[in-house]
Each structure stands twice: as structure tokens, then as C-alpha cells.
Amino acid sequence: MARQSFDLAEKYRLPVIILVDKNLCESDQSCKVFDTNFSGGASRQGLRPGDGAFFITNSNEHDATGFSSDKAYDHISQTRRRVQKLVDCEKEDLPAPVLYGPAKATITIVSWGSNKGAILEALKSLPHANYLHLTWLNPFPRDSVVRILSQSERVVSIEANYSGQLANLIQEKTGLGIVSRFLKYDGRPIYPEEIVEWCL
């Protein structure tokens, strides 16, 4: 995902934010050696200062050549250009989220980040549950999430925050309200036993 983030940043000339959580940042885990042999990816091209060419990189609203502009026309066309990047990204690069466990289940757990480990562990004790792991929040995989969540009798959101930020985002993006929210905000990671207890 980190490698893809760099490629997306190059392809769309956009900042890409990788959301992490406390447990990911403060814990250790061994993993397989990364495959560092790969080809492809976006090319790193672009003008550089000192090359002799003149260009402006501008955080102010600007025209197509980079000069600051307060014209309504420029604001509209540049806003559309920026939004189009996300539209294109959704079409060309957004992967479908992965569903762990049986394709059909009475309980579907939805979460993100390091909770995945505890949830997969809990699934071993929950034969009627599956788990939808979200890695992309914006662009958001709306169609896949609607399709999977609407097949389930009970959707459970598991989050390490007070308000249920992911469940709220899902509601905003899909219109599906999630009532069953296991929310933990004591600064500790989520444990498999807690998930099993909540889902029973």
C-alpha cells in the first residue's frame, strides 16, 4: 500500500495520506522479506528549478500556467480539474476491499487498520461472521461496501475511538447506518475476546 501511495502521488500529482493507528505505530511485528524487485509504477518526471525553464508551483488558486488568479472561471476549471483526479483514481486504481471469512454470513464486521489482526483471530470463534477490511477511505469503495454490508443481518463496526468515525463515514458515503458499534477509547488495542463477546 505504501508503494502504491508513492505511485499514486506521482501519477495524479497529489499528496497521499496513509492513515495509521496507535497500535500499528507502537507495536512490533515480524513479516516476510519485501519483494523489492519490481518494475512499472509511475515515472518520476517533471521540471526542476535550475534547469533553465520557468515555472510556478502555486498553492494559491491559479490558472493553467501556474500564475495566481482570482478569476471565477479559473477557480471553477481548476476545482473541476482537481476533483477529476479523484474521479479518475476511483475508476482506474481503487481496489475492491477484501472480505475475510465466508462470503455469506449473518454478522459482518467492518473495520480498518491494526484491528484486522484481532478481528481475524476472533473470526475463528465466530463461524457465522465475516470481516470487511477497508484500506481506502477516499476515494471510497462505495458499491462494494453497499453490496457486502446489505447482505448481512447484522453489521458490527469495531473502532478505537469514541464516536465511531468509520461507521459515520460509511453512513455518509453509502446511506447505511451501523447501529452495532464496538468502540474502545482507553488507549489500549482491541482484543479478540472483546470482539467475540460483542458479537455473541
Binding site: V33, T36, L47, P49, F54, F55, I56, N58, S59, S68
Partner: protein, 285 residues
């Protein structure tokens, strides 16, 4: 050779008629012509404020970044290509308000940059709010009954934080300011030129007339290498007693001269080989 006409863009300045930025802009262009700064050797970085629009009117490659964040961008550019002259345009609000923390640490590290601080003692682009440089009692939209906060001296702060070239110019004295900007860029290390820049729309205290009457150039006898006298001089601000010129100068290794990775050639001239982590991973397998 850079000619004045090489620096023209097809955008006319949007500053108010009479704005001090015109003098500052003129001085920078004169300096660019005199010192042959162009798109093969120079880059401009600006923050947010009236000052930032200078990049639209000057045909030198530029980055107009976020409010208060011109310095970190400039540091990155300088580290990526230390052969470039990197000019940082910032304002008293941008540099001392939003960007205060960046400023003191850039001074401390002695990055080889030239900072041109458009000091109009007010947030002007947002139509007149009190800035960290506004005088005590200053009336503005944000302090209608007069500011209760005292300004601080950017020169004193720069010297105390470790800047190695600290000067003050006046936008109404283009020849004098031109020389200061060239000297600042010639200096190896972090150079700050505080430019007194009258704002004709939102500051009726620090006017053209006020600066014409109350500034003076430091004479030949003044020794800018003495830190103690420089510190005293840096907070001198009174009627007829606002000093112009190089207040402090010191030779000290620059940040860029101390990092090994660019001791032989700039980073941009090297090969990108950052994908190879094999050795690192095999070490821990």
C-alpha cells in the same frame, strides 16, 4: 546576463498603488540583473501574504507554498540542489506568526538561504489585522481598541537564534536595498533582510514618511561582527533612530556544508537508487 526585461511576466502587479512592495520588487530585480540571477541558477519561494504575489510578477521559477511554510520548502530545495540561489520571500505575519518556529530553527541550523522579509507590520492581504510586528496600541480590524501585545524585534530574534547575516533595509531606498540583497545572497549561511515596507492601505503608523524621517544607515565605523553590540543595535527603534544596513555578520559552516551526502555534488545530479532495500532486509532475515 540577466536583463530587466527577462524578468517580466505577463501579469501586472496587484499591489495597491503606493505599496512598499513595489520598491522591494524593484530592488530584487535590480539585484538579479547585477548578479545575473536567472532560471539556470535561482529559485524563489514565497509564503502567503501580499508579499507572496511577487512570484507572479517575476519570471524566476518559484514555489508559493502554505502560510508560514516558505522556509521548510526552501530548505528542501537547497538540500536537493545546493548550487541554486534560494530566495525566501515572507512577511512579518507569515514568518513571525504562522512560521515562527520554522524561522528560529532555520536560523539555528544556518541554512544557506536568503530571506527577504516584507515587514509592513500588519496582515495586509486579509485587509488589516495586527501582526507580531505591529506596534503596541496598534488599531486594526482584529484589535479595534488597540493591540495589547508588544511586537518583538525580528533582528534580535534572528541573531539570538543563530542567523549569520542579519540586515535591515527600507523599500523606499531601492539602491541601498539592492546592495543588501546581493550581500545577503553572497553570504554563506542564513541571511535575513528585514525590509521596512510601508502598507498604504492598512497601516497608517509605519508610513513612507515615518521611515524617511526616522531611519538612518549605519556608518563605516559600525562593526557588524561584534555580537554584543549587534544585539544592542538590533533592538534600537525610536524617533530618528531606526538603523539600516548589516547589523550582524558571522562566518560559520552552513548546514549544507555539513551534510556528507552533498559534499561532492548536489542530490539532483545523483542517481535515484532508493528502491534497493535488499541488503537491509537480508541483514535481518
Amino acid at each position: 546576463m540577466t536583463k530587466l526585461r527577462d524578468l517580466i511576466t505577463h501579469h501586472a502587479p496587484t499591489w495597491c498603488p503606493g505599496c512598499g512592495n513595489f520598491g522591494l520588487w524593484g530592488a530584487f530585480k535590480q539585484a538579479a540583473v547585477a548578479a545575473s540571477w536567472d532560471n539556470t541558477n535561482s529559485v524563489m519561494v514565497a509564503g502567503i501574504g501580499c508579499h507572496g504575489h511577487i512570484v507572479d510578477f517575476t519570471k524566476i521559477t518559484s514555489f508559493e507554498g502554505l502560510h508560514g511554510r516558505a522556509l521548510p520548502v526552501a530548505e528542501g530545495i537547497k538540500i536537493a540542489n545546493n548550487r541554486l540561489n534560494v530566495f525566501v520571500f515572507t512577511g512579518d505575519g507569515d514568518c513571525l506568526g504562522e512560521g515562527g518556529n520554522h524561522f528560529i530553527h532555520a536560523c539555528r541550523r544556518n541554512h544557506d538561504l536568503t530571506v527577504i522579509l516584507h515587514d509592513n507590520e500588519v496582515y495586509a492581504l486579509t485587509t488589516g489585522q495586527t501582526s507580531p510586528a505591529s506596534p503596541l496600541g496598534f488599531k486594526s480590524k482584529s484589535t479595534p481598541k488597540g493591540s495589547t501585545d508588544r511586537p518583538f524585534s525580528v533582528l534580535t530574534l534572528a541573531i539570538a537564534s543563530g542567523a549569520t547575516f542579519v540586515a535591515r533595509g527600507f523599500a523606499g531606498d531601492i539602491p541601498g536595498l539592492t546592495k543588501l540583497i546581493i550581500a545577503a545572497n553572497d553570504h554563506h549561511g542564513f541571511a535575513v533582510v528585514d525590509v521596512l515596507q510601508p502598507c498604504v492601505s492598512f497601516n497608517n503608523v509605519c508610513t513612507h514618511q515615518f521611515y524617511q524621517e526616522n531611519t538612518y544607515w549605519l556608518n563605516q565605523d559600525y562593526n557588524p561582527t561584534n555580537k554584543e553590540t549587534a544585539l544592542k543595535k538590533s533592538w534600537e527603534w525610536d524617533k530618528k533612530k531606526i538603523p539600516l544596513g548589516v547589523i550582524y555578520q558571522e562566518e560559520r559552516p552552513t548546514y549544507e556544508s555539513l551534510i556528507q551526502q552533498i559534499s561532492e555534488k548536489p542530490l539532483v545530479e545523483g542517481q535515484l537508487d532508493h528502491n534497493n532495500l535488499k541488503e537491509l532486509f537480508s541483514k535481518y532475515t
